[in-house]
Symmetry: D2
Subunit: 298 residues, 4 copies
C-alpha cells in the first residue's frame, strides 16, 4: 500500500444529470477525461462537488465505476464514501476498493454532533474493513463537526488513515496541524481561496473543483511552489483568485457546471432541489473566465 | 382538511434499536403508547429525536406504520419526511399520507445551501403531491439553512403549508414571525429551553421529546399558559428547566434513551456511529430526574 | 442601604449636544423631567444611550449633577460609572455617590479581555470605596466580555453588588441566572426586544431608552405582568415591538434623538464621529411612531 | 512626505508601569532601545500592546516623547492616536506630529457601531489637521467595527491615508484587499499567527509585539521572503509559531511583559484591572522560549 498516493492538484468532477434527473455517465466520462489530460495529479469523484449526499446507491456505484474505467490508472483516484451511518460507510468503502479506487475520503457526517470517541470508532470500523488508505476530511461547514488537531492525531494512529484534508477555511488550523502532527503529516487543502496560504504552510496538495475550468493556472501554482518561487506563485494565485472566490461563493456544483457550459464542454443538469445559476450569475462568471483567458494568453 | 390539527404538547418518540442495530418495533410501540396515555396532544415520529436521517426507507416506513397502529387516531400524528432530494421527500410524504398521518413535517435539508427559490419550489412540488397539511420546519443548526420570516411567508402561501415550527433558538425570531405573518399564524416552538418564552410570545404548541421523561410538567406548563396564569407557568417551567437544558446539551436521542432506561421503560439501543451517554452523564441525568420527582410529589 | 432600590421601568436618557458639540444641560433636564413625569420607575444617566464612553470627566459630572437636581428624589437614580481602568471607575463611582446617586451601574469594559479574577478584583476595589449598591452589567457586545452566571454569582458575594443587568440578548441566559443565583436574585433586562420574555422569565425590571418615546406602552407592559395577565402583556408588547426593533437596529442614541425631534421634545445634537439618522431612517421611525399612536388611541 | 515610510518588521513596545501604576519611562526607553538595536524596521508605541486605551493624556504624551527621544530618527515611528471621539483623535494626532512621529495609526473605535460615512468623515477630519501619513487599522475584535475592502478603498482616497493594517485574522481579507485596492497598496499584517500567509499574500510589513522576545526570528522571516525563499521562510515561521500562538492567546501586554522578565530585560508592571500572567502560564512561556533558543542555536 502506498500510504500517501497523492500530491499536487486533486481534481473534483461534478455529477451531471440529464433532463430526467438521471446521472449522465457519458458526459461524466468526458469531463473526467478532460481533467486527466489537462494534467491534474489525481481524480476525486463523489465529493461535495459531485453532490454525493444527493445520490442513491446505484448512482454512487455507477459514478465510481465510470471513474475507474475512464481514468484507467493514469493517475490515482480518491472516492468519497461518507455516510451518516457506519454501516453504509463500510458498504461504500468496500465497493470503492473492489472497483479499484486508490484511496477513499471520509468526512464524519454529523446530524447529531458526534463525540470524539464516536468519530474514532467510526473511522476504525471502516478502516478495518478495507486495505486502501483513507483520507480523513475536516469540513465543519458541510460535515457539521469540527475535528480538532488532537482528534486528527488520534485518527492518524489507525494504520490506513494516512492523510488529512482540511477545509475549515482557517489557515491557522493548518499551522496547528503541522505543529501537532509533525512535519511529515500529509495534509491537503480543501479551501480554494486559501490555496496560496496552504501551500506556503506546507500542504502536500490541493483538493479542488477548479481544474474543471482553469487547469493550467491550478497546476502552474503548484509548480511554482515546487520550484520554491514564491513571487511567481503569488502572481499566478492572484490571476485565479476571482474565480476561486466565485465558485466558492456561488456553490461548486452550480458554478462549475455553468463554467463547463461556457467553455463548451457541457456541465449537465441538476437534481432537485438544486437549480442552475441565474443568468446574471452566469454572466458574471463569463466575465471572470474571459478576464483570465486574456491575461493568461498575454 | 383541518389546516392546523395541532396545539399544545407535540411529543417526539425516539427510534429504539436492538443489539443488531435493527429497529425494535415492539419497544417503539410501547414508548408511543406511554406518550399518548400520559396526555401528549400529538405524536411526531421520525424527527431529529427519532434519528430519521440515519434510517433507510424500510426503517422509516416501519416506524410510520407502527405509529399509526399504536396511536389509532387518539391524537393527531405528524410524520417527518424530509430528505435532501425533492424526489425522496415526495416519496416519503406520499407514504405517510397513505399510512394515515395527520400531517407531515418538512425541513429543507441543505448540504449545498439552497436559495429561497429552490426552497419554495421544493415545498411546492411536495405539497402538490399530497393533500394533508405540511409543517415547515426551520432549524439552521440541523438543516443547514436559516429560513427568514419573509421566506416562511412565501411558503405559507402554498395552500397546504399551514404551520411553522421554529427552532433557531432565538425568541426574537418568534416575535418577527408573528409580526410578519400575522397574529393568526400557527407557529410552534421546537427549542426546549425557550418553552416559556415561546408560549409567552404566542406559540400554539411545543414540539418536544421531553414528554418521554416528564409529561406531567410539560402539559402543566401548557395548561397554565391556557389559563393565562404566568406566575404558575413560570414556576412550572423552572421545575423542568434543568432537564430541558440537559437533553439539549447532550443530544436528544442519547439523553431521552438514557432517561427511559432510568425510568424503567427502556430506551433501546443505537445505530452506529451514535453511542449511549457515558456513565457520568447518566448519573447527572438521574440526579436531575430525582430532583424533579421529589419536587413534584411535594 | 436599600439593596435593591429598583423595579419596573428604568429609563435611560440620551446626552444632547449643542452645535459646538458641548453638552446641552437645559435640554437634558427637560428630557429627564419628561421621563419622570410620564411614570418611569427609575432614571439611569450615563448609559450606552447616554454615550457615556464618549464624554470627558467634566461632561460626565455635569450630567450626573443635572440628573440629581432634576429628579430631586422623586424616583431612584442609577448612574453609569464604568471605565477601562479601575482607578477611573473608582473616581466616577465616588463622584456619583457624593452627588446623591441611589446606585451605580458598572460594566467591566474590556479592551484586553479580562480574566474572571481581574473582573472580581475590579468590582471588589470599586465596591470597597462606596456605600451605595452596584448593578453589575453584562453586555458582551459593548463591554467585550461575557460574564458567565458563575462569575456573576461571585460578584454578588461582594456586599454592595446586589443587582445584575443582563443584555446578552439571549433569554436562556436569564433562565440560567435565575437557576444559578436563586429565585430572589434581582436581575434586570437590558435587551429591548426581549422585554416580554425577560419579564416572563422573572426579571425585576427593564432597563430601556424607549420611555423617551413610548412611556405609556412600556409601563403598561410592566403593569400587565404585575397583574399576572399574560394575554394583555403579550398584546401590549406586540404594539411596541416594531419600535423596540428599530431603536436597537439603528442605535439607541441616534434613534431616540430622532424620535424626540419627531415628538417635538427635541433630541439634541451629536458628538463626532456619531451623526444623526438619515432622512429615510427618520421617515421609517415616523411611520412606526404614527402607527403606534393611532393604535393606542383606538 | 514619504507616503509609505514602513516595510518589514514594525515592533510594538509595551507600556511598563511601576508599583504605583505610574508609567515607568526609564524602563520603557530601555525596551525601545532593544527593539531598535536588534533590527526592527520601525517602532510603534501606543498600540494595543502598549495598552493605549488605558492611558490618560499625560501618559500618552510622555510615551510619545520618550519614543522620539530614544529612537532618535534611527528608524521610522508610528504612533497610535485612536480615540472614540474625533476631537480627541485630532488632539493626539497633532501632538504626535509635533513630537516628530513619522506617521500615525488610527483605528475607528466603535462603542456605537459607526456607519461607513461616519468613519470616512472621522478619518477625513483628522487627516486634514496633520501632514504626516496615516495608517488605517482594521481590527474588528478590538475596534468593534469591521472595515470592508470597499470602505478601506474610500479611506485611501484621502491624500495622507496611505497605508492599511489588517488584523481581522482572515488571510482571505488580504487577498480581497490586494484585488480591490491594486497590487501597489501598502498593506501590513497585524495578525501574528498569519505572518507567513500574509507575507505570501504580498504584505509589505508585519506589525508585531514579538520582536520584544524573538527579534532574530521575526527579521529572518522577512529576509527569507525578500529573498523569495519560501522553504526557508516556512521553516523559520514554524520555529516561532508556538510563541506567536501563545502571545495572542494570552494577551500581548501580559505575555510580552512576562517574556521580558524571563529574558532579564524587565517587563514592568500593569495598570488595574489588568494583572500579570499566572505562574503556570509563565512556566509555559518559559518552555516555549527555551525550545526556540535551543533550536536557533543549533
Amino acid at each position: 500500500m502506498n500510504k500517501v498516493p497523492f500530491k499536487g492538484v486533486i481534481a473534483y468532477p461534478v455529477t451531471p444529470f440529464d433532463d430526467n434527473e438521471n446521472v449522465d455517465i457519458p458526459l461524466f466520462k468526458k469531463q473526467v477525461e478532460r481533467l486527466v489530460t489537462t494534467g491534474s495529479h489525481g481524480i476525486a469523484p463523489l465529493g461535495s462537488t459531485g453532490v454525493m449526499p444527493y445520490l442513491n446507491d446505484e448512482e454512487k456505484e455507477a459514478i465510481t465505476e465510470a471513474t475507474m474505467q475512464q481514468v484507467a490508472g493514469r493517475v490515482p483516484t480518491l472516492v468519497g464514501v461518507s455516510n451518516l451511518t457506519t454501516e453504509k460507510t463500510v458498504y461504500h468503502a468496500k465497493f470503492a476498493e473492489r472497483a479499484g479506487a486508490t484511496a477513499v475520503m471520509i468526512i464524519p457526517m454529523s446530524y447529531w454532533k458526534l463525540t470524539d470517541d464516536e468519530i474514532v470508532k467510526h473511522y476504525d470500523t471502516v478502516a478495518s474493513k478495507i486495505s486502501i488508505p483513507i483520507m480523513a476530511y475536516n469540513n465543519p461547514a458541510t460535515g457539521g463537526v469540527d475535528m480538532s488537531p488532537a482528534l486528527l492525531k488520534r485518527l492518524l494512529e489507525i494504520p490506513n488513515v494516512t492523510m488529512v484534508k482540511e477545509s475549515s477555511g482557517d489557515v491557522q488550523r493548518m499551522h496547528y496541524l503541522r505543529k501537532e502532527l509533525g512535519e511529515d503529516v500529509a495534509f491537503f487543502n480543501g479551501s480554494n481561496p486559501l490555496a496560496l496560504s496552504a501551500f506556503s504552510a506546507g500542504a502536500k496538495g490541493w483538493c479542488t473543483a477548479s481544474p474543471n475550468l482553469i487547469p493550467e493556472l491550478n497546476i502552474a501554482l503548484y509548480d511554482a511552489i515546487q520550484a520554491n518561487d514564491l513571487e511567481k506563485a503569488q502572481s499566478i494565485f492572484y490571476k485565479q483568485f476571482d474565480l476561486l472566490k466565485f465558485i466558492v461563493a456561488k456553490g461548486l456544483p452550480r458554478s462549475i457546471k455553468a463554467g463547463l457550459d461556457l467553455l463548451g464542454v457541457g456541465g449537465g443538469g441538476f437534481k432537485s432541489p438544486l437549480k442552475p445559476l441565474s443568468g446574471n450569475e452566469i454572466a458574471e462568471l463569463d466575465n471572470i473566465l474571459s478576464a483570465i483567458e486574456s491575461e493568461v494568453v498575454v
